[in-house]
């Protein structure tokens, strides 16, 4: 099935206004800094934006005191996992409607037990590629991503980093190939609940009745006790109708890492 341009474009355009506030009490302040504002793409990752925010705050603090690797983000008491897409973190943690999303930037006391450190942009890139390969493993037994050239991989990553929709989709459409011998075997999906690590199980595009698996069915595979009346199923900040076929989600509503990231929130 071909790419649904209207949907993929809207997904790509999704942004979140973020107000980074420095946890000022943690270090010596030369000049009290104003918050740093940024409009972050939902499909992007925090470390990509953090570089600029970090530079901005560095002018306000005594640089000798802090170590770049110790920087971490916190919202409402939760340390934010840097390898989740921004949109997933927003859907998962943001419970009120107040915008911009106020995130505290900590320069010290890294919570080693809760989150792992991000070793920079390269680490993020390899994490992203790993995720992409895993998704293709599920869809095409890795046949497409493995036959791609290094250049194509780079184009996917650069398309994401530089916010180039066309550049990204030119390559991504190969990964979304779903016909003939390249039919999807499984749907790459990750389900999130607040307070828990995400879960990933095998979801087939077609159910036993040879109909397309719906989102409701997929949710029940993850959690047999899934109750549609008490939970909201959210991706990209919107509630996804439960009768949507998961195969369509995989083709059109996946994040750039080719996974469909779904948050199940209690309503």
């Amino acid at each position: 099935m071909p790419q649904d341009y209207d949907v993929t474009r809207q997904v790509w355009e999704g942004k979140v206004p973020v107000e980074f506030v420095l946890a000022a009490h943690e270090c010596t302040i030369i000049d009290a800094p104003k918050p740093y504002y940024a409009m972050l793409p939902r499909i992007s990752y925090f470390p990509l934006a953090l570089e600029r925010a970090y530079k901005y705050f560095m002018s306000a603090v005594d640089e000798s005191e802090v170590n770049k690797d110790d920087v971490w983000l916190e919202y409402d008491g939760y340390p934010l996992k840097w390898h989740y897409p921004v949109g997933v973190l927003f859907d998962l943690h943001k419970t009120d409607d107040v915008l911009p999303w106020q995130i505290t930037v900590h320069l010290k006391k890294f919570p080693e037990d809760d989150i792992i450190r991000c070793a920079g942009r390269d680490a993020l890139e390899s994490m992203f590629m790993q995720s992409l390969k895993e998704a293709d493993q599920l869809k095409h037994r890795g046949e497409i991503v493995n036959t791609m050239q290094k250049r194509d991989h780079k184009q996917l990553w650069n398309g994401l980093v530089n916010d180039r929709f066309d550049q990204f989709w030119l390559v991504n459409k190969k990964l979304m190939e779903n016909s003939g011998s390249n039919t999807f075997h499984f749907v790459p999906m990750r389900l999130y609940k607040t307070d828990k690590p995400y879960r990933q199980v095998l979801v087939k595009p077609m159910n036993e009745a040879a109909e397309r698996t719906t989102l409701a069915e997929a949710c029940r595979i993850f959690d047999p006790g899934f109750d549609s009346s008490s939970s909201r199923v959210v991706s990209h900040g919107v509630e996804v109708p439960l009768d949507t076929p998961v195969i369509w989600l995989a083709e059109n509503l996946a994040y750039p890492d080719n996974f469909v990231h779904i948050s199940i929130l209690s309503s």
Binding site: D6, V7, V240, P241
Partner: protein, 996 residues
């Protein structure tokens, strides 16, 4: 926006078209749409024009296919019934032998009984039976008008003694209904096989004399016998034309024998013609010009290496050929054709890559071709003035629509093509529609079992709606908080610039300093370099800051301030203050900062005055009727966009570009509140202008005709406007006014008429006399070049034919039914339905019939409409309610002067005549909307506008002995009936509107 269609014939002989809009609407069909001939006759060849397509079938007959337009093609047929009065007998239909017959045309030259009128083709239907004209101004109650004899010029609408003849006018309307289908062109000779057509070509869509007319084109066809025919009579009222006329054949110079033609190509833009003989020789038609579409003779054109040519495509600047060895050749086209024939040698042709055949060149020299091996369509990419040959071929991959019709056996034949013609689409290298070549822009409804279902599913709709709302919501909050951010901080910026001196019109170096404190306060300091003189302008004293381009292409910021006269510096500086920045971006950033601060200071307002200046820039001035300040003290904002006309009413704003395209202000744009140029709406406005330059030369004994410095006879310039007295930059130094403009083509000579020589020169005895001679001591010619405007601006495009006037209804009795009226270039009247302040673009056009050609329109209260005809008469039409707008009749309102414009408010009607005198209509009320008579009010008026409560604003022209004539002066009528002047223009169009 109508950008036309690309047409092609597939290998089954079916004509197909593909939408050519670079930004198609959501519901546009992005696949090929077939258009079958009756009885599925295969199409042999197409000739595509912007408004319609000519085709020839395998049966040798010609057909036309008229594409949809908002304007119907209607023709009123008339015949006059004549009677003579005889003593004792009374009125009798038997006229005297010397008289005209019982039924005749208006002049009486021809006998035209009712049964002599026939529909020209199957595309026409009669709309009504014959009816008598009962217009009371000309005829009596039974439709008769009387005179002493038939040759009388003065028929009266009542019987008088001494009236011996009478006549009445019978009229009947026929309408062209063969829209979006093929209609056979009637031809008496079709039974004779040698008259069967084998080739057809159309062009000349941009030829000067016919530009704005619908169906304006030259159509040439070749018969099996090798005769070349030209179609006569094609025009706005006759898409199929009237008759074929024979074009003089190509004659062999030595033997005198006629050459057998087998192929023709007419240039889409210029209408020039090439013909090929059966043995591959190439001939160019000479003498084709705006006033002579057929041309006057033939000349042999050199071929590449002397090879036989099998097909040719003629553009505006390039000619493409294919020779028998399958090679593609190109050379640039030299105008006029006689010059081309002289200059082009066999070595002038450049060889291109092999592999393409059946080339077509569309408007703006865009090229499409069919691949020789795969028979697929290809478009030449990156063709522009600098690279007339383009860079590469790209395949057109749009698929054939209509799933039901895809033939299983046909399978692979689906994208094989016989012919392609780009004459009907206006694209350039930058606007090639993405759905032609890019897979992700294809519509995909037929490619998979599920996708058609998915597209219609409610869950997809829900997801898209939710995503769209989500994105909009985020942007709104973003703008809110980015505005709050930093509001309390003060900051300063500096720039080096120049300011215009008052006396010598010299630019003086100056240092600028702009300080912004908080949201609304600021100070602009201008320090004249080296003199220590400084002007300080607090923002409270600035009413507007406009970004303009001055005649010397400087990036000017124009600052108007009512207090400037008292300023200590004014003796030195020009008023308004003109600041020239080094770069356009710097100027724009200063403008937007000052505008953003100004617009927060705007007081409450209840009226909005929209205005356009002589550069086509658009401005808005919020006005309060309770405010007693002078018009010159009102704040103004500049919006982005380029227009020639604007009309506003009830919060809805419509504007017209120079190119006749209609736009409306996006409802999402918060005018007068939003300081931005509306870029965040992601809308784009476009416009196009043909820049015209006059090149003047005079002859001297020594050097013949040559250009000159300074002025000739004290006031004529070497490079000037049409009048000769306004100096302009020459061809090489003419600059684009801003970064939003681009040249669309190269300079070319305008060939006006027969008075031009082959290089376009027109001669005169001396400057100031008419250039209508073959020889003279001075000469001039005109150059033209098209520039196009493209900018992010808060305007929505309206799908409409070319328009000349607009009027938005200005009273809001019922806001759910606002009407927008538009006059097309053809003088037809359209009414836009479904317009509300939330949906200013409306939904659909409805044509309102008027048998006269309309030049101006003004929507009055209660759905009353006033119009001005091309003859200068006023027409009024009142409708009891919204539903009747197309049904009621026009009433002619007599006047002793020739009207040019009309402006209507509640109980007030103003009529402006062509001499600039303004008249007011007396006794206008809701009971008698037509009033009683015209009384003279003001002179030297250029244009007027009034709102629903009758406030009058005008553009005036006055002659000042010291300064000369100043035009475009904005003024408002005060309660004492005198004029209160606004800030300096020159303005060209204004429109006053109440807001809701």
């Amino acid at each position: 926006m109508s950008s036309g269609y690309l047409w092609a014939v597939d290998i089954h002989g079916t004509a197909n078209r593909l939408i050519a809009s670079p930004c198609p609407a959501k519901d546009d069909f992005l696949e090929w749409i077939p258009a079958h001939l009756e009885g599925n006759v295969p199409v042999r060849k197409l000739a595509v024009a912007p408004d319609f397509v000519w085709g020839i079938g395998a049966n040798g007959r010609a057909y036309i296919y008229v594409t949809y337009s908002h304007i119907a093609v209607r023709v009123v047929e008339e015949t006059f019934e004549n009677e003579r009065w005889y003593m004792l007998v009374g009125w009798s239909s038997r006229t005297l032998p010397t008289d005209r017959s019982n039924y005749s045309d208006r002049q009486g030259d021809n006998s035209t009984p009712k049964n002599s009128f026939h529909l020209p083709s199957d595309g026409w239907v009669w709309q009504d039976p014959w009816t008598v004209d009962l217009n009371e101004i000309e005829y009596d109650k039974t439709g008769w008008q009387y005179a002493f004899n038939f040759s009388s010029k003065d028929f009266k609408n009542t019987h008088f003694s001494g009236a011996f003849v009478r006549r009445r006018r019978w009229a009947r309307t026929r309408k062209y209904v063969g829209i979006e289908r093929w209609i056979a062109v009637p031809d008496g000779r079709q039974s004779d096989e040698s008259y069967h057509f084998i080739d057809i070509s159309a062009g000349g869509f941009e030829q000067a004399s016919h530009c704005s007319q619908r169906f304006a084109c030259s159509v040439f066809a070749l018969t099996r016998a090798g005769q070349l025919l030209f179609r006569d009579g094609i025009g706005p009222q006759s898409p199929e034309g009237t008759d074929w006329t024979l074009v003089d054949p190509v004659q062999d110079k030595e033997s005198g024998e006629y050459e057998d033609l087998t192929y023709i190509s007419c240039s889409a833009s210029s209408g020039q013609l090439l013909a090929l003989t059966w043995d591959g020789r190439l001939f160019a038609r000479l003498g084709i010009a705006g006033n002579n579409r057929v041309g006057t003779g033939w000349a042999d054109l050199a071929r590449p290496k002397g090879l036989p040519v099998i097909s040719a495509a003629l553009g505006e600047r390039t000619v493409w050929l294919i020779t028998t060895d399958g090679k593609l050749w190109i050379t640039s086209l030299i105008s006029p054709m006689t010059e081309m024939v002289r200059c082009v040698t066999s070595a002038s042709w450049t060889e291109m890559s092999q592999g393409m055949c059946r080339v077509t060149v569309g408007l703006d020299d865009q090229v499409l071709a069919i691949c020789q091996s795969t028979e697929r369509l290809n478009i030449r990419m990156d063709l522009n003035e600098k690279e007339p040959t383009g860079r590469c071929w790209k395949e057109i991959i749009a698929s054939k629509g209509c799933s039901g019709e895809i033939d299983e056996e046909a399978g692979n034949d689906n994208d094989r093509w016989l012919q392609v013609d780009a004459g009907g689409c206006s694209i350039n290298s930058k606007t090639i529609p993405r759905h032609w070549t890019e897979p992700q822009h294809q519509s995909s409804s037929f490619l998979s079992d599920y996708s058609a279902f998915d597209r219609k599913s409610t869950w997809r709709r829900k997801v898209i709606d939710a995503l769209t709302t989500r994105n909009e919501l985020i942007w709104n909050t973003f703008w809110d908080f980015s505005r709050h951010f930093g509001e309390d901080s003060a900051w300063t910026r500096h720039a080096k610039a120049q300011v215009l001196a008052a006396t010598s019109s010299d630019w003086i170096d100056a240092n600028l300093e702009l300080t912004i404190e908080g949201a609304t306060k600021g100070l602009l300091r201008v320090e004249i370099a080296g003199r220590g003189q400084t002007i300080e302008l607090p923002f409270a004293d600035i009413v507007c800051a406009f970004a303009k381009c001055d005649v010397h292409s400087k990036n000017v910021l124009e600052v108007h301030s009512p207090i400037l006269p008292q300023s200590n510096m004014l003796a030195v500086l020009k008023k308004p203050l003109k600041i020239a920045f080094n770069t356009e971006d710097e100027r724009d950033s200063w403008t937007s900062v000052i505008q953003a601060t100004l617009c927060k200071a705007i007081p409450v307002f209840d009226r909005v005055l929209w205005a356009i200046d002589d550069q086509g820039l658009i401005y808005v001035c919020p006005i309060s009727t309770h405010n007693t300040q002078s018009l010159s003290q009102q704040y103004w904002l500049q919006l982005r966009g380029h227009f020639k006309e604007v009309s506003a009413g009830c919060g809805v704003v419509w504007a017209l570009g120079e190119d006749g395209k209609a736009w409306c202000l996006s409802p999402d744009y918060g005018c007068a509140i939003d300081p931005m140029f509306g870029e965040e709406l992601a809308l784009v406005q476009t416009d196009a202008i043909d820049e015209v330059l006059c090149e003047n030369q005079r002859s001297s004994v020594l050097s013949g005709y040559c250009t000159f410095n300074g002025t000739a006879n004290g006031k004529y310039y070497a490079w000037s406007d049409d009048s000769g007295t306004v100096k302009k930059a020459n061809k090489e130094t003419t600059r684009l006014p801003s970064k939003h403009w681009q040249w669309a083509n190269d300079w070319k000579i305008v060939n006006h008429d027969l008075n031009c020589d082959s290089e376009g020169w027109q001669y005169a005895k001396k400057f100031g006399t008419d250039f209508n001679r073959k020889k003279g001591s001075v000469r001039r010619r005109q150059w033209t070049r098209r520039r196009v405007f493209t900018a992010a601006a808060p305007w929505l495009a309206i799908d409409a034919p070319k328009l000349t006037r607009l009027s938005v209804q200005n009273d809001s009795t019922d806001n759910s039914h606002l009407l927008v009226w538009a006059v097309t270039v053809t003088g037809d009247l359209l009414c836009r339905q479904g317009v509300t302040s939330a949906t200013p673009a409306g939904s659909a056009w409805k044509q309102v019939i008027c048998d006269k050609r309309i030049v101006d329109i003004c929507a009055g209260p209660n759905y009353h409409i006033w119009a001005v005809t091309s003859a200068g008469e006023a027409l009024l039409r009142y409708c009891a309610n919204f539903a009747d707008i197309t049904k009621c009749a026009w009433k002619c309102i007599p006047s002793s002067f020739k009207l040019k414009q009309i402006a209507v408010g509640a109980n007030v009607v103003w009529g402006l005549d062509s001499k600039g005198d303004l008249y007011e209509r007396t006794a206008v009320s809701s009971a008698t909307p037509e009033g009683e008579s015209w009384i003279y009010a003001y002179s030297d008026v250029q244009t007027v506008t009034t709102d629903s409560s009758g406030n009058l604003y005008a553009l005036l022209k006055y002659s000042d002995p010291g300064v000369g004539t100043v035009s475009g002066v904005l003024a408002r009528r005060t309660t004492e009936n005198s004029w209160d002047y606004g800030i300096a223009g020159p303005w060209t169009c204004i429109s006053l509107s109440s807001i809701i």
